[in-house]
Structures are given as C-alpha cells and as structure tokens.
C-alpha cells in the first residue's frame, strides 16, 4: 500500500472512530463504526492478510453490526439530548486517553523491529495471507482453541436466546421491548 493511500485510509479511520463517539444518534454512531471496521479490513489486506480481511468484513460488517442495528431499533433509541455539566469528566477522559494512546504509540514505535525508518519489504512467504496458511495454523497448533471457540459460540447462542426471550410465565403483552416507532426528529 503506497504511503498516500495509507494516510488516506488512516485519516478516514480516525475520523470514523471519532464519529462513533461523537455522534448523538446511535444509528449514525453505528454507521461510523461500520466505516472503521471496513477500513480496518482494508488495512488487513494491505498488510498481506487477505483472507482475514474478508473474514473481518463478513463477520463484523455483515453480521455483528447488523445485530447492533437491530438492537438499536428494538430499543427504539433516539438522538440523545446534549448533556451539560459533564465537561470536566469529558476533559479528564480525553486527556487520560490521549496519554494512553501516546504511551501505546511510543511503545509500539520502539518495539517494532526496524523502527519507523525501516520501510523495507515484509518477510512474508508466497501464500502468506491465504486461507490455506491461516487454516494450517488454526487446524494445527491452535486446534484445541479452535474447537473450543465452537463451544463458545454455541454457549453464546443459547445464552443470548435465554437472556433475550420474554419471561415464559408472563403473557404475550406483559413486556414490551420497545415500541416499533420511527424516530421522530
């Protein structure tokens, strides 16, 4: 990936992430997040992890974010009123997070072998980012972990159904998980 393209994608990703936390309408936040996740998929592909980039797009953008969208609708969340009097908290949070990010960035800068100056070629094999290479690791060295994730997903499905369903004893109209109304702005 040429430097100008990386800069473009990186700036867009940062703007998207800012959009996630600054938008007051949850649906707009979600769209900003979709942008960030897609751009991260693009960065994965630029780093040679082609199959993983597409997996990221399939799992995050195609499935998880749609789930978020559904829940936002189900809870009928609307644009939040601008809240006042919490400026100090926000400021403190911003300063602390900036310090954290700076620290992480400085650490990463130092830790990355070769440092910032070395813009040489990456040491990647011929089929580095392919599904075959990824599968070989997942089915070999991490086979146990890979199998455990399937159990984890099953547990998550059962747990989600158990948590989200209505109380079986109650009648059908006793609990209303948000009314289906369009947002009135």
């Amino acid at each position: 990936m040429p430097a100008w393209l990386f800069t473009f994608v990186a700036v867009l990703a940062v703007l998207g992430a800012l959009g996630v936390i600054l938008q007051r309408n949850p649906v707009h936040s979600l769209l900003a997040l979709v942008l960030v996740l897609s751009l991260i998929a693009v960065l994965f592909i630029a780093l040679g992890a082609v199959a993983l980039g597409f997996l990221q797009a399939i799992v995050y953008v195609g499935a998880i974010m749609v789930l978020f969208l559904f829940v936002i609708w189900l809870l009928n969340l609307e644009t939040e009123p601008r809240e006042g009097g919490r400026l100090l908290v926000k400021l403190a949070a911003a300063v602390l997070a900036a310090m954290l990010a700076a620290e992480l960035a400085a650490l990463a800068w130092r830790a990355a072998p070769g440092g910032a100056a070395a813009a040489g070629a990456l040491h990647q094999g011929a089929n580095y980012g392919s599904m075959a290479a990824l599968a070989k690791v997942l089915m070999g060295e991490y086979l146990l972990a890979f199998e455990v994730t399937s159990v984890l997903l099953l547990a998550a499905v059962v747990g989600a159904v158990a948590l989200a369903r209505k109380d079986p004893g109650a009648g059908p109209q006793s609990s209303t998980p948000g009314r289906l109304e369009p947002p009135l702005r």
């Binding site: 990386f6 940062v14 996740l37 960065l43 780093l47 992480l104 948590l163």
Partner: protein
C-alpha cells in the same frame, strides 16, 4: 510500502479513541461500540506485528478475537435487551442497582 510502526501508531490512536468513548458516553450501546473500536485496534496491532514477523499466528489470534467478539456481541446485546425490558433505559448512569 508503509512500515508496520505506522500501523501500530494508528492502532494506538484508535484504541485511545475507543477508551474516550467508553469513559464519556452514557448510552450502553455506544459504549459497546467503543469497545468494538478498541478490539479492532488491538486486532490491527496483531496483524501488523504478524506481518512484520512474517508469521501467520497474528492472524490466528485475530480469528479468535473475531469469534469471541461475535459471541460477546450476541450475549451483550441480549443483556441490553433484558435490561431495557426491566428498566426502560440503557443509560449507564441510571443503571445503578449494583452500586453501593
């Protein structure tokens, strides 16, 4: 070719923004989304370091993060629905039952 250090810096920046979101926002769904931003920042760091070392294991970790994130989203959102059904709100400031 962009050096992996730049990817790591970007990852740190995204992570910081995610932290601000968790600290500042009061809407539980948006807090959840900020956590996703942080997870993805970590993923980016994994892949960047893996690409630098030429090892596929960075990608394998991201694969596991993806599955865990999917499970976490399903359960977390289900919890939010359950909370909303009982309290009619997902504002983190009003969900203080466990505070003492």
């Amino acid at each position: 070719m962009v050096a992996p250090s730049y990817y790591l810096a970007l990852s740190a920046l995204l992570f910081g923004i995610g932290v601000v979101g968790v600290l500042v926002r009061r809407n539980a769904i948006v807090i959840f989304m900020s956590i996703e931003v942080m997870l993805n920042a970590a993923n980016l760091a994994f892949v960047a370091l893996g690409a630098e070392a030429g090892s596929v294991e960075g990608q394998a970790f991201v694969f596991f993060v993806l599955t865990v994130a999917a499970a976490e989203a399903a359960v977390g959102l289900a919890i939010l629905i359950a909370v909303f059904r009982n309290r009619e709100t997902v504002n983190a400031d009003e969900l203080t039952l466990l505070r003492w």
